[in-house]
């Protein structure tokens, strides 16, 4: 988007609604806002109708703040709790059908590349675990195999939240949920390994209680997807309603789950490392000067 759009037409300033004025004057467009500035700028996502204390909402909020180029970012989602918040952000949200988000994003990212050439337009998929690992599985995997250049974020609450708490492929084994009356019979799906096998250039697992880390992985994932290949972030975003987590214990739960099965992991392909170092100055990926080896 030309940042000219984020201006008032001269003479119209006073007639614009306050909400819009705030977005233009104090929004993040064209600025490099960070999560540490939260509370001091107008956020792209504010109101949402999700349950009080829902960790997914916090994660989505952090993720959107972390977008490296919000003025040229388009989100793609699907049915599920997350869409209720994402669709209220002040950037476009595309919805197709339940589970087809990675197909829609494939077409979208190709269409935008045809139209805008090298000017980056970041496409970011944000979908639930059911949408990603169950009903959308085929389209997710194929978009990765095709090396489609966009980011996929799984909001993993380990349950179908929006339809009232049914087992998903990402539910842990043994959990008793709707449609798993005797407990889930098989293991939590290992989507991280599948992302690796399918050729994602960047893969990370995170929980929402470390905002800077969330910001860091989202930024890297979006930047790498611009030019190198598909990127995947799997975030634990608990469903306090279906798992009966008291709202004041949501962060504590995230910590417990982090220690148990959601340790921070990050995979960056060599090509992606070189790209981040060269193009975006990521120091940690600058190749170390070879240590001189002397042979006697």
């Amino acid at each position: 988007m030309s940042l000219d759009y984020v201006k008032f037409t001269p003479g119209f300033e006073q007639f614009m609604p306050k909400e819009y004025r705030d977005m233009v004057e104090h929004g993040p467009f064209g600025k490099k806002t960070t999560v540490s500035q939260m509370g001091s700028f107008k956020e792209i996502l504010e109101e949402h109708p999700m349950c009080a204390g829902c960790a997914m909402t916090l994660f989505i909020r952090l993720a959107i703040i972390a977008f490296p180029n919000p003025e040229d970012t388009i989100t793609v989602g699907t049915a599920g709790c997350g869409r209720l918040a994402i669709s209220q952000a002040a950037i476009p949200f595309v919805y197709g059908n339940y589970g087809d988000q990675n197909g829609v994003a494939s077409g979208l990212s190709r269409g935008l590349r045809l139209r805008f050439g090298d000017k980056p337009k970041d496409v970011v998929v944000i979908a639930g675990d059911g949408g990603t690992a169950d009903i959308g599985f085929q389209q997710v995997l194929h978009s990765w195999f095709r090396k489609e250049r966009f980011t996929t974020i799984m909001l993993d609450n380990e349950v179908y939240g929006n339809t009232g708490g049914q087992e998903s492929g990402m539910t842990t084994r043994g959990a008793v949920l709707k449609m798993a009356p005797l407990g889930k019979k098989f293991e939590k799906m290992d989507m991280v390994t599948m992302a690796k096998v399918a050729g994602c250039s960047y893969i990370a697992t995170v929980v929402p209680n470390n905002p800077r880390r969330v910001e860091s992985v989202i930024k890297k994932a979006v930047l790498i997807a611009r030019d190198i290949g598909p990127t995947y972030i799997q975030a634990y975003t608990s469903c306090n309603i279906e798992y009966a987590i008291p709202t004041d214990k949501v962060m504590e739960d995230a910590k417990t789950v982090e220690d148990d099965r959601y340790k921070f992991t990050e995979y960056v392909s060599d090509e992606a490392k070189a790209y981040l170092a060269e193009r975006y100055g990521y120091k940690e990926f600058v190749p170390k000067a070879p240590v001189a080896v002397t042979t006697a």
């Binding site: 233009v24 109101e47 269409g111």
Partner: protein, 401 residues
């Protein structure tokens, strides 16, 4: 401010972006002997398509692959094979959301597999064109011609046209984009034909010059925002309507559905201008009329010739668009008819049902003959149906050697 016109400029293949009216109506035509699949390719060569997404299913696989050749030659911006028809239609939606002109093809089980996408396309106002080369959807698996899938497409909110010949196909592919992309229409088009009969037979088709092509799609003529983040950063939605069980939510969904169907209605005037009417008639003053669409029309023409030899005069109404449905036109064309014969290539007789629901004195409709599952429709069975309706005895076909 006048938009800068691209008319007269060249694309990277050296084709000149031409005023579609000039290209379709005034430009010289070259008669060419092609299969229906090749005709699809030739139309697409001239359609300034940004994205085509393909998936194999008989009888459209050949056309879909030929368009891949066009991509390799540089006539199409992007092209790939998706992983299923549902995925393909989702991918098409994504490209269209991003402002691309999109084309795809499918058939039979592919249409059914993709079905969830079609009302979504219509609701999202994506002017994608999908060629549907109809085939059976029954079990056991069949690849033969059968038009039953059209009856499902007719309820999706898409524009649905039914081509009789390869010439229809060629012209309607190009004209289809012009109608679909009108700002007051902006709907997807299912351009149907009867598989094999049209796709795999050769016919002489008059083609427009190869060095002329349609002007590119302008996504900013869309009635809904293009999802390219080239617009002011408004919040597009407050309180997703899916969340609410209240009157405002219901009214929003209801009015949007009505708007989609109203947009299809508004396509009438554009379609009439491009297709020269939603129906075509011959001798519609005759007492007996054959009224149908697709290749059943061609078989009807043969039956009319056979009956003329016996001194029985029969007229013809060819229905070109099923959505919008040419209600007034059909009522007018059939007003004097005593017998309305509706031959169809499907078991349920959806066309006869539509006509019965349209005209007064619907007992005039003879819902047949119908063939399905790939059976051909010899003109003789139409002749027989007409004679039976008139109370004339005829030797049954079964008695023939």
């Amino acid at each position: 401010m006048e938009p800068i016109s691209v008319i007269g400029t060249k694309n990277k293949k050296g084709q000149v972006f031409t005023d579609p009216r000039v290209m379709m109506r005034d430009a010289p035509r070259t008669p060419s002997f092609y299969t229906g699949s090749e005709v699809i390719k030739e139309a697409i060569r001239r359609a300034s398509i940004d994205v085509m997404i393909a998936y194999p299913i008989t009888p459209q696989s050949e056309a879909a692959a030929l368009i891949g050749e066009l991509f390799a030659e540089g006539y199409i911006g992007d092209y790939f094979r998706g992983e299923s028809e549902f995925a393909v239609m989702s991918q098409c939606a994504g490209a269209a959301f991003g402002g691309a002109r999109v084309f795809t093809t499918t058939a039979g089980p592919g249409t059914m597999r993709a079905m969830e996408n079609f009302p979504m396309w219509a609701g999202a106002r994506l002017p994608i064109q999908c060629i549907v080369t109809c085939r059976g959807i029954n079990s056991p698996l069949s690849i033969q011609p059968d038009t039953i899938e059209i009856s499902y497409l007719m309820q999706t909110g898409m524009l649905v046209w039914h081509a009789e010949t390869a010439q229809d196909f060629y012209d309607w592919i190009l004209m289809g984009y012009m109608v679909s992309e009108e700002p007051e229409v902006h709907l997807p088009l299912a351009l149907c034909c009867d598989g094999f009969f049209v796709t795999h037979t050769k016919d002489v088709v008059d083609l427009t010059p190869t060095d002329m092509c349609l002007p590119p799609y302008d996504p900013y003529r869309s009635p809904v925002p293009c999802m390219d983040m080239e617009c002011p950063p408004v919040r597009m939605m407050r309180d997703p309507f899916i969340m609410k069980s209240n009157y405002i939510s219901y009214a929003t969904h209801a009015s949007w559905q009505q708007e989609v169907w109203a947009a299809a209605e508004r396509s009438r005037k554009h379609t009439i201008a491009w297709l020269n009417g939603l129906i075509e008639t011959e001798n519609s003053d005759a007492d007996i009329l054959i009224v149908t669409s697709g290749t059943a029309v061609s078989q009807g023409r043969e039956a009319i010739r056979l009956l003329a030899d016996e001194g029985i005069r029969v007229g013809l109404v060819k229905i070109k668009t099923l959505r919008p449905w040419p209600e007034e036109e059909i009522r007018e064309a059939t007003k004097h008819a005593t017998h309305i014969i509706v031959p169809e290539f499907n078991v349920i007789g959806w066309m006869a049902k539509e006509i019965k629901a349209t005209i007064p004195r619907s007992e005039r409709v003879v819902a047949g003959p119908r063939v399905c599952g790939g059976m051909t429709m010899p003109p003789e069975i139409i002749v027989e149906e007409i004679k039976r309706a008139l109370g004339i005895r005829s030797t049954t076909l079964a008695a023939r050697g």
